[in-house]
């Protein structure tokens, strides 16, 4: 990589499609809850494209798009319209997709993120609104299938397209941009961030050019990347592939390539040398849309705190490291969990350590949005209070958290039931300390001779004798007193 990085500059732009979390579809009243529904059960004359049916704009979808555009620092023109993108495909029941062509809902934004501690910025060309297509189920591989089934449940689900400028320069750039974008979409409640089910999709345009060149090289569009890892791997693969072609004196062709995750390579799908003519023209069934300034301001006021602002606040208010703050704010669920626990009285640093340590080992924080956190914030606060008050040791707490996660029961309850309370009463502790002194004459001698480490050994013996229940701080104090 380092050798080619000196010869070529990598140029990447991402096109992200995000389904909008509205209750009904883009142009009709059908539900958007299609993932588990029986094929073609959530359809009506409008999303089936039956003769005579007409679209009606879903206001919520427009607002979600404006919300996204504002979060991405875009301009919102006062006037927008929908256009028809004409092409024939069996998953497109009208023979055209209602999309936006030359007057999108927003344009000229940017997104800031970090790569290896360095701040980066990528321009956002536009965020526009369109309708999703249906789904095809092929009987076998697509090129050999004897038949295909069409499911139009997804047809007409509102979809945002977020197009970046070709400002990304590496696979790391692309992954971090996409990660940050996903976090924003989830933060503002417009998309669930689920790539596996296709509710968030990403295509990448990748090209190389000789270092110092101003003109772009031939670009290749990569599709079918279903995870952040896939985005990263596919782009890495493509950079190497394109480098080899260019170094071998070959010529790249403008094409669409699909990422094959199992084989770890991109495969040519279709040539784009002869661009398809979509014959865009203004959708005559929908009047142009005036986006009034008061409306935009109302939406702006309703925006929640965005990840970058929250990260800055976490660093300042809780004295967290930039790295920890980034991790905690990458998901709204995690950030809110953190704040809830801190509001509950737990020390911020301890909460951060627990979330990023033991809790994320119980359940990866990336899964919290979908599956929820492994233990409730209140339970974490309770646990930390038990530690803080000396009732249980840190070691005990680590064992306990797994039990809380598994059973859902509260820490105090488990402590009581299992007799886990730490021994803090002096009468019991003095007995233990005296026994330890009697049984470890050598170490007692060493300590008195000035070897401080010997005290640690004696504390350890006391803990062992108490089966870990002794309060180590008090044991330490008692030993010092007795041996003084």
């Amino acid at each position: 990589m380092s050798a080619l990085a000196t010869r070529y500059e990598v140029v990447i732009g991402l096109e992200v499609h995000a389904q909008i979390l509205t209750r009904s579809k883009m142009f009709c009243g059908c539900s958007t809850d299609y993932l588990t529904a029986a094929p073609n059960s959530i359809t009506c004359p409008v999303c089936l494209g039956l003769p005579g049916s007409l679209p009606v704009i879903n206001r919520d979808a427009v607002e979600a798009t404006i919300r996204t555009a504002l979060a991405l620092n875009c301009e919102i023109p006062e006037f927008t319209k929908f256009d028809r993108k004409n092409y024939f495909y069996p998953d497109l029941p009208k023979g055209y997709q209602i999309s936006q062509y030359d007057l999108p809902l927003s344009r000229n934004g940017f997104l800031e993120f970090e790569v290896k501690g360095q701040p980066r910025r990528c321009g956002i060309t536009r965020v526009h609104l369109e309708e999703d297509t249906g789904k095809l189920l092929h009987a076998g591989a697509i090129h050999e299938a004897q038949s295909s089934l069409v499911d139009l449940n997804r047809a007409g689900v509102p979809l945002m397209e977020i197009v970046s400028e070709p400002d990304l320069r590496s696979a790391d750039d692309a992954r971090e941009y996409f990660t940050r974008l996903r976090a924003i979409l989830q933060y503002i409640g417009v998309n669930n961030g689920d790539m596996e089910s296709g509710q968030l999709r990403c295509d990448a345009n990748v090209s190389l050019r000789p270092l110092g060149a101003t003109e772009y090289g031939t670009k290749v569009e990569i599709k079918n990347m279903n995870s952040f890892r896939a985005v990263h791997r596919a782009i890495e693969f493509e950079i190497v592939r394109q480098t080899e072609v260019l170094d071998g004196g070959g010529r790249l062709i403008q094409e669409t390539r699909g990422w094959n995750d199992a084989r770890g390579e991109t495969v040519s799908q279709r040539s784009k040398e002869f661009a398809q003519d979509y014959r865009y023209f203004p959708e005559p069934d929908l009047p142009p849309l005036a986006v009034t300034r008061p409306w935009v301001e109302q939406i702006r006021t309703g925006l929640p705190e965005l990840p970058s602002a929250r990260r800055a606040r976490f660093i300042k208010a809780f004295e967290l490291s930039g790295y920890d703050a980034s991790l905690l704010t990458s998901s709204r669920t995690v950030a809110e969990y953190f704040e809830t626990a801190v509001r509950g009285g737990a020390p911020a640093k301890a909460v951060a350590n627990w979330i990023l340590g033991d809790l994320s080992r119980l359940r990866n924080t990336a899964d919290w949005d979908k599956a929820g956190p492994p233990v409730k914030a209140a339970q974490l606060v309770e646990l930390l209070t038990l530690v803080d008050s000396g009732q249980i040791s840190g070691k005990m707490a680590k064992d306990l958290i797994a039990q809380v996660g598994a059973t859902g029961r509260n820490p105090a309850e488990l402590v009581r039931e299992q007799g886990l309370s730490q021994i803090s009463g002096d009468s019991e502790l003095i007995q233990i300390v005296e026994q330890v002194i009697a049984e470890n004459a050598k170490s007692v001698e060493d300590y008195r001779a000035g070897k401080q480490q010997a005290l640690g050994f004696l504390v350890g013996q006391a803990m062992k004798l108490s089966k870990g229940k002794a309060n180590p701080a008090r044991v330490n104090e008692l030993l010092r007193e007795k041996l003084a």
Binding site: P45, L48, G49, L50, P51, G52, S53, L54, P55, V56, I57, R84, N86, F88, P90, P93, K94, G95, Y96, S148, V150, A275, D277, R279, Y280, F281, P284, D285, L286, P287
Partner: protein
Amino acid sequence: MNLHGRTIHELHQMLVDREISSFELTQLVYAQIDRVEEKTAAYLTLTRDLALQQARAADERLRDGRDATPLTGIPIALKDVLCVRDVQSTAGSQILKGFVPPYNATVVERLDREGAVFLGKTNCDEFAMGSSNENSGYRPVHNPWDLDRVPGGSSGGSAAAVAAGEAIAALGSDTGGSIRQPAALTGIVGMKPTYGRVSRYGLIAFASSLDQVGPMTRDVTDCALLLQVIAGHDPMDSTSSPRPVPDYLAQLASGVKGMRLGVPREYFVSGMEPGVEAAVRAAIRTLEQQGASIEEVSLPNSAYALPAYYIIAPAEASSNLARYDGARYGFQDGSGRTVIEEYQATRQHGFGQEVKRRIMLGTYALSAGYYDAYYLKAQKVRTLIIEDFKRAFEKVDALLGATSPTVAFPLGAKTADPLAMYLNDIITIPGNLGNVCGISVPCGLAGGLPVGLQVIAPGFREEVALRVAFAYESASGFHNAHSPLLEAAVA
């Protein structure tokens, strides 16, 4: 008693007075259909069972005297471009053969709520593309005044049905003259409301920015009655206007005294038949005698309307008709080995010549590199035509002219020459492009065939067009001239 020539308002009185039941009336109309349908081919589908069922329900409503409306129990025909639940709706195309919509068009729903009786779906040019009904994917319609002649198009079936006594009234659709021109050629009243006045939901689209549904009736009063029911905002059609709907009957008989009526000099086109011009000039004089002041006006961009229309309408049609691929409903060819081959075979054999011609025209006009020169330019011309009308309506209340430059022509006369056929709509097309409303009202005969007077009023001023038309109709009485097929009906 010949009931076939009666109007909605006359029959409504008879229904209310219990002189006849809707059931009897419906049966009488079907009897006439049975007599003459073979000659006219006005219908593609008859819905006898549905109609008789609706008639019975209407009779109950009338008997109880509760919520009976002017349309309750009135037998009406619907152009085949309108979706009717559980009734085959083909838009006159083979490609939609067997398509049975699961829903009602909004206008159909509204008529149903009023208690109207649906006789059937009327024949029309395929996807409403045509001026003679010879482009029907099934069979041509014959003019009840002269069976060797066309009834006009594209709502020729609806026009012929009303003119032949096969319906009391009908709904048509007008994209470039498709209500007004056949109304003129068959001697009935037909109105194209302002774009946005009537919901298009459930109207199988030809050109979305021009299509409007409208009434086709025996007289102007019926036209107002029908419009009253179908007009108004529909949340299912975002292009329908939220403007309130006025009471169209209230001002109907106010007369034209003191009104200023304009006669666009561009509307007396070359090629206009002398008989048509004479009838229209006479009609203008009649209105003058009724107290209107007549002045000549100019709509200078009229000549560009036809070419602009033949860019915009086919462009929209090429996209609107993309959904007919045989995969989900209607005709499927079945011979293709791949998806693309199957699409090609279905569309090649499912669409007729004129439809394919317009899809080709429209696809070309929207293609990359041509869009600006054709589609965008045509839209600019449209703006000029809108401004022409605006300027004219600063001086006058309404405009007068012929509806069609000719009377009904013989079948086959123009089928070989699309351009000659397109010229038929030269005086009606500006109204569609110009966002105004227009009505055609019978103004006499030329060579034994009906001539239509067109009254054009500003956008959303249907009451003005109706008022002028009503004043003319009352003074002339030409609406009482009936086709031979209607005259021959005995009941």
